[in-house]
Point group: C2
Chain length 224, copies 2
Amino acid sequence: MEIKNPLYFNQGIHVIASIFTVEKGIVKVLLVRRCNEPFKDKWALPGGALYNNEDLDDGLKRELKEKTGITNIDLELCNVFGKVNRSNIMRMVGISYLGVIDNERVSILNKTQKTSDADWFAIDNIPDLAYDHNEIIKDSLEKLKESIVNSNILRTLFPNGFTIPEIQKTYEAILNKNFDRRNFRRKLLSLGLIYDTNKEINFEGKKPAKLYKFKEEISNKNVL
Amino acid sequence: MEIKNPLYFNQGIHVIASIFTVEKGIVKVLLVRRCNEPFKDKWALPGGALYNNEDLDDGLKRELKEKTGITNIDLELCNVFGKVNRSNIMRMVGISYLGVIDNERVSILNKTQKTSDADWFAIDNIPDLAYDHNEIIKDSLEKLKESIVNSNILRTLFPNGFTIPEIQKTYEAILNKNFDRRNFRRKLLSLGLIYDTNKEINFEGKKPAKLYKFKEEISNKNVL
DNA sequence: ACAAAAGTGTTGACTTTACACCCATGG
DNA sequence: CCATGGGTGTAAAGTCAACACTTTTGT
């Protein structure tokens, strides 16, 4: 079917991913450098235009893989951006997603990119981005904060386990807020989402810390 | 700019509103009967295709007004539906919104419609709808449940005030769950969102009940 | 031996839950 | 006068917040 009514002419959908990680207490977001117009050479969130023949989720995964090499990541819907002029080429509605990825995969990243460049930026040091992506990051960060207290989205940050002081620092970095060590530990353990591996590792302190892991179950509510 | 790549050809955006009300303990959703193809004469959620020259929010408001006559209603983003074949005419991504409207406006409704018909349907008695709207309603209902405990979305249900047993029944109807009268009252009052108007009305009981109203402030978190 | 971070327990404040009685009105 | 739902208080249980000392290791 051909669309003739100019009211409906040339609309498209952007899928956009805000992917965060936390390294040494610094919250970072993944950006790619654009190699095409518009906004050529500007940094942007990974994403792009949805194809006609793919489901929205699939388009998101495809774009993410093309631009960053990342596959196998859980993403959740974050928001929709629908100002008329958010894209200057044609009418594009942007749909933003949120994800978290572990430090291991950060290093793999640079070898698999298709974009001219991809890198992590500390969230208080984001350059001027393409489109409305600065706004999208800010919005996604808010959602990330909600998500780490309402769901265990951080599980993906620690595929090899974590110590409690370590994950506490991660919560503190994202929420910009400190917790009492004893209460944090008690609360986290009481949720029943993690278990003691009976291993110990040195994270930061001199005394080795116990290594915990998330249980496999998909229980997903009310962390903290 | 003319789009030639068939991968990006003829995409559009549906804005879709799930508008709920509660009457006598029955949760209802607003549906309209379609007067055009596709799905002519089928019931559907109010909404339609976004114009090129309007912001997403504006398109939503316009569609809602055209199809139901409703203006001045708060809507929040609910979800995005992006299966390739959710529309059989052309590729449409659906963006769904959630709102609640008071009983007063229910009656006004039928006089202002542009659609061939508009009516409220109890949520356990929804007919087979156009597109994926049955799925959207189900999804929106889940979100409604979350919203009434995490925000005071129900404020709009009672523009002329309410008694505490009355609003309790509303919560119970939506959440499908009963609360202890005394504890419900205490909790609701302790939130500081409502005030006693010093009027009394007969709602259901034999003893007149106090009339409360929501305060004007826009405070929006952690109800119940 | 000491510095630095890990680990642990208790108490008081607060919140939530459970529960029983009296009150005002309409029939 | 009685049936119906509205309004109130209290005690026990549970959760949350604050807080200080001991343990293990590297230097």
